[in-house]
């Protein structure tokens, strides 16, 4: 399984803080994980800035996701 987390406005839009997705043998890209999330949540993120992390490191959406990885989607950060 792929463990997906959502934060801030993305979490509110998805309606959940976490989601588990089955991982195909060849893995997914982060972009493909997001497409799965959009299908399951019934929403799309084409109109917003999104960042992604893989195993708690910032990654591009082309990064490859393997079984048991942790992926997160969130808006640009606003700390400090």
């Amino acid at each position: 399984m792929i463990h997906v987390k959502f934060f801030a406005s993305v979490r509110e839009r998805v309606g959940s803080a976490e989601m588990q997705l089955p991982c195909p043998p060849g893995g997914f890209t982060v972009e493909e994980v997001l497409t799965m999330v959009e299908g399951q949540a019934g929403t799309e993120f084409h109109d917003v800035h999104l960042l992604a992390s893989l195993n708690q490191q910032h990654v591009p959406f082309t990064a490859l996701v393997k079984d048991e990885d942790e992926v997160a989607f969130f808006p640009p950060v606003t700390g400090g």
Binding site: A8, L51, T78
Partner: protein, 164 residues
Amino acid sequence: MIVKVQKEDFELSAACAEMATLSGAGALVTFVGTVRDYSDASDILSLEIEHYPGMTEKELERVSKEAAQSYDILDSLIIHRYGLLQPQDNIVLVAVWSRHRAAAFDACRFLIDVLKTSAPFWKKEITPQGSRWVTDCPGCRAGSREGHSHAVHPVHPDHRLHSS
């Protein structure tokens, strides 16, 4: 190099005094960020800060190591709060010790600038009109030392923006 992510408030002098005595230190530069009581459009009643436990600490440690490698400093301390805060409350403390002032000033500026564009914190403003997520990118507003661009900045190189 110490990083703390906590709900509790901090006190500047006490937090710095907790660090081990640094032989050779001739400068201590600190930055404290606090909650404003206004934003561009409204008064702010309170501020909710959310973060990504685990990744937050890793990112703060990463930028601290980067500062230690890039500047001639002796040590650094970052404390960042989360949870519900009130106007004038402390949000973040960055402290840097060095032999001479220039490195401490530069590293402190570097740490807060990079932190604001890479550490996974998100602010939600509670105003008289309701609550709303802060959406402006601090990197765009403040500008980091290297210059900030969504397209090329190393800390968020792949903002995903589609025009639908």
